[in-house]
Structures are given as structure tokens and as C-alpha cells.
Subunit: 306 residues, 2 copies
């Protein structure tokens, strides 16, 4: 890419790189980050491809915010404290309006998650955004998928299925009222990584995962990694009024259990442990394998069964 | 991407994730890496797009090895000890032959650089490879671009221009003898990140950079970051016999000073400091700015002036 384009991009992004753990930010061969002496590094990478992971006509500000949120959600699921990220951006052309608005979405996420942008790469090609997040974990703690125990209670944060309801609306499958439509689109375009909840759960939850593939699929990852069965109750699933306004309870249930992209946390707590605000009990951990909904259906993974 | 494709990719990559600093590898929401208590994290990300950063008909094994080498070269330029990497792979289709041979190239690089593959993401789309490398640096040391001092001597490792000579051959611009062609193609397809040299220079070199954009451009980054002028002598530039076999000394000089992709290290040492094996003195640091070749030409950046 010509250096004038690098200059343009550098201008928009270079102010986002400062943070308490950042010794050296964008501009040299590597960025340098500092962990406390009793901490470890948690890291995860997510790629979003235009036309595959987000529609082509999405507002670039939302694309930027969402790309960071999706990656940061993996830090939340481990209970890690954000310390920095890199963004590798492949762009078909250096469109100043696009770069400007995209960078505003990145900046909002940097601020929302205290996640400074410490490095990146910009290349020419079909629009692809790869975000790698880095966080700090205490030396002796991490929330993994593998710790769920028989007898634990299963919880989920927030409400389920909103992003799937928004996608169905965007695809012309239903027409919510304006207020509901606005709420659902915000949930799809602006998912919030549950960083604070993850931090609160660290040391208490026996397992956790963020819901990116859908509740059944992701609860299935916990079941499989922990060697247990997860029983879920459909009547207990937290639903937004906007989603329920659809009126068709089968459709709404399908969105809630198999729709991805909500980026809420699903986690297990031992009985008697106090439950963080905004979280709902949706089931329990029993002996066996896989995920059961209402005790009569076996789901290996969510999506393929609908 | 359907889960059967994930299974395929997981099978090829899952054995590459173990290392002394790896507490948790591929398979959960994040990977977990451990630094020593007196160390900091150095990290860098590089994206390669098919048709832009490598030809479409390149052997997938070379693509994999080269993608890691290009990223690892940034660790070498900082003097960092490799601890792990992630590979975000966007693929047009799950071609088992491609994935198999690509993963062999990745595996060779994992082994060459002691750089375990601890995480990744696989998405559907035009072929794009993003490698993020992570390394450890002592708390009180790093080789930056900004430390060159007037009076320092400028060195480069290996030989220069070989990758540019190989590209010219691939583009049909000249026809080296078979042995020379083989040597040059290996230099282009299989660049070696100078990890050991970087480690040896850490604490001795006043500045360093890896040569990815060409000697003049990259020496220019040192000059600019350090606020000095770098004087280079064309007669001193180390050239391989294979490159010199081209016979046209102007062409060879152009490749050596402005060809990118050699991934050798350019660095500055104070006078009197012993020079690592395989490195050549190519110039000196003087007061001023920019890069001068043979004291009579001013170069802001290399590439645009040819």
C-alpha cells in the first residue's frame, strides 16, 4: 500500500494506543506490553470477512465496534483483564470516509473495554478485519470450559436471541415495531463484551463460554470439555420484550437457543454461590453428555438440528 | 464454516501448540501464555494476501513457512525470545491438499523458531493469512529503531537483494543458471527470521530493524526514529554470488538497496563492539537526517526513487 495511505490510516489510529500496560505502542517492529509479576497472558484472535460475518452495507462505525467486541468477548469468557489489542485490516481501497468512521467505532471500543490499540497491519485486498486481543489473568486462575461439575447451576447473562431476531429482520423475515427494531439492531451491531461480568465470575464460576455460535452449541462445548450433561429449560431462557414481540413462540425459541452473535456469557456456578446481577438461571449440570432441552431432546450441537 | 471443516483444520494444526511458555493452547476461548517475572511481552502482526504479498501459484508449504517467518522477523528485530503465535486463516474453500501442505510449512516454522501455534481462527473468504507473534523481552531491554547514535557503525546480516532477484526471475525479467535460481527462490520462498542474531544483539545494538521494505526504506526508519543520518556505501553491500551472476551491476545494486522481503537485520553498533558472525559493515551514523548512499545521494525512502 502506498505510504500516503499508511499515513492516512496512521493518523486515525495512532491516538488509541496508550494504556497502563503499554510500554511501547504502534510504530516500531513490535509493541511491548507489561504484565504484573503474578499474571499470565490470555489471548484470542477473531477474523470478520465482509459478506460472511457482516453485511456489505453495514455502517463502518458499527463494523469497527463489533469486530473488537467479538474478540474482546473471549477475554470476558476467561475472566481476563484487557491490556491491549492489534487490528489487521485488509481494505480494497483507502476510502477516507470509511477509514474515518471505522476508526471511530474502534475508538469507542478502545474506550468501552480499556483495550488500547497497540499494533496492526494494513494491506490491500477484500475487506477482512482480524482483531487479536490480549489480557491479563492471575497466575492461579482462569475460567475454562472444562470445569463444570455435576450439581452446578447453569446461568446466562442478559437476553438471548436478539441478534438472530435482528438478522431475521434485516433479511426481511419479519417487521418489528420501530422501538423493538431499534433495540434489536443495536444488539446485533453493537454487542457488548461482558468484561466486567467475566472479572466478577473469575474464581467463582466453574466454567464459562461466550455465546457466539448459539446457546445449544456453546453450552455443548462446556458439556463436552467438562465431561457432563447440561440440562436447559426453555421456559427459563431470558428473552427481551422486543424479541417476544415477534409473537411466534417457536420462532423466538429457535432464535434464543440456536442464534449466535449475542456475546452473552453462559457459565456454571456451584449451588449456593451468589449470582451476579442481570444473570438468569437456565438449567443445571447432570451426569452424562451433551445438551438436553426440557429433558427430552438431545442436542449435540445447536445449529444443525433446526 | 461447517464444523467438519473445522475438524479438518484442527487435525492438522492441533499438534503444534505445545511450548515451555504455553499454559493453555488451542481449544478454549483464549490461549494462556506465561512470561518470566522479569519479562515483558513483545508482539507484532502481519497479514499476507494472495496475489498481493505472494503469487497465486506458490506452493502452500512455502506460503505457510514464509507467513510465519515474516511475522517472526519482527521479534528478531526487537531481540525478543519467541513464546507463541496465532494464525488467522481466511480460505476460499477447505481443500485438504492445500491445508495439509500449508500446515507442513507452518509446522516447519514452529520448529525452526520454537514458536508454538497457540490459537487461531478459520474463516471463509479470499485467501488471507494473518500471523501474530508473541515474544518475551527482559524488563529493561529492547532493540528499538530510535537508539542509533552519531558515530555508530551500520551493519546488515546475510546478503541483500536476493528476494528481489528471485521475484525478477519469477516475472521473467532474467534467467539465472539453475543453481543460482534455486538459491534465489529459496531466499524468496523461505526467508529465515534472524531470531538468534536478534537475541545476540539485544543489549549491544543501539538500534535495529528487519529489512522488509528494502534497505534504504528501512534504514530510513532508523534514521527518522533516531534523528540521525545514515550513510551507506554501495561497494560494501553484501551480495550473493547468485545475485551477482546477473552481471548488470546497476540492476543488482537496485535490488540490494530497494528490494524488500530479505528479512535480514539492519542494525547499529557503537564503535569497538564485536560484530556477530555473518554480518557486514555497510555504513555509519552521522549527524543530519535521512539516508545517503555513497555520500552524494539523498534518499527519504528507497522504493519511490527508482
Amino acid at each position: 500500500m502506498p505510504s500516503s495511505e499508511f499515513d492516512l490510516i496512521y493518523r486515525y489510529f495512532s491516538s488509541l494506543g496508550a494504556g497502563p500496560a503499554v510500554d511501547l505502542s504502534v510504530g516500531d517492529d513490535c509493541a511491548i506490553l507489561r504484565l504484573e509479576s503474578n499474571e499470565r497472558l490470555a489471548t484470542s484472535v477473531d477474523t470478520m470477512v465482509e459478506g460472511v460475518h457482516f453485511p456489505e452495507n453495514i455502517f463502518p462505525e458499527d463494523t469497527g465496534f463489533r469486530a473488537v467486541s467479538v474478540a474482546a468477548s473471549d477475554l470476558a469468557a476467561m475472566g481476563a483483564r484487557p491490556i491491549g489489542m492489534t487490528v489487521a485490516l485488509t481494505l480494497p481501497e483507502a476510502d477516507e470516509f470509511w477509514i474515518n468512521t471505522f476508526s471511530q467505532g474502534i475508538a469507542q471500543a478502545v474506550s468501552a473495554y480499556d483495550l488500547p490499540l497497540v499494533g496492526g497491519d494494513t494491506t490491500r485486498g477484500p475487506l477482512t478485519i482480524t482483531v487479536q486481543v490480549m489480557g491479563a489473568l492471575p497466575m492461579d486462575k482462569a475460567m475454562l470450559r472444562e470445569g463444570a461439575q455435576v450439581g452446578d447451576i447453569v446461568y446466562v447473562s442478559g437476553t438471548l436471541g436478539d441478534a438472530a431476531g435482528a438478522l431475521a429482520f434485516l433479511n426481511g423475515e419479519w417487521q418489528p415495531e420501530p422501538d423493538a427494531a431499534e433495540y434489536l439492531l443495536d444488539r446485533f451491531h453493537r454487542p457488548r463484551a461482558q468484561i466486567e461480568l467475566g472479572s466478577e465470575l473469575l474464581g467463582n464460576a466453574t466454567s464459562a463460554i461466550d455465546i457466539s455460535d448459539g446457546l445449544l452449541a456453546d453450552a455443548g462445548h462446556i458439556a463436552s470439555a467438562s465431561g457432563v450433561c447440561i440440562e436447559l429449560e426453555s421456559a427459563a431462557l431470558p428473552l427481551s420484550a422486543a424479541l417476544e414481540s415477534n409473537g411466534n413462540s417457536d420462532t423466538v425459541l429457535k432464535w434464543a437457543i440456536s442464534g449466535g452473535d449475542d456475546y452473552e456469557l453462559c457459565f456454571t456456578l456451584p449451588k449456593g454461590v451468589s449470582v451476579p446481577e442481570g444473570c438468569t438461571r437456565i438449567g443445571q449440570v447432570v451426569a452424562g453428555e451433551g445438551v438436553k432441552l426440557d429433558q427430552n431432546v438431545d442436542f449435540e450441537t445447536g445449529y444443525q438440528h433446526f
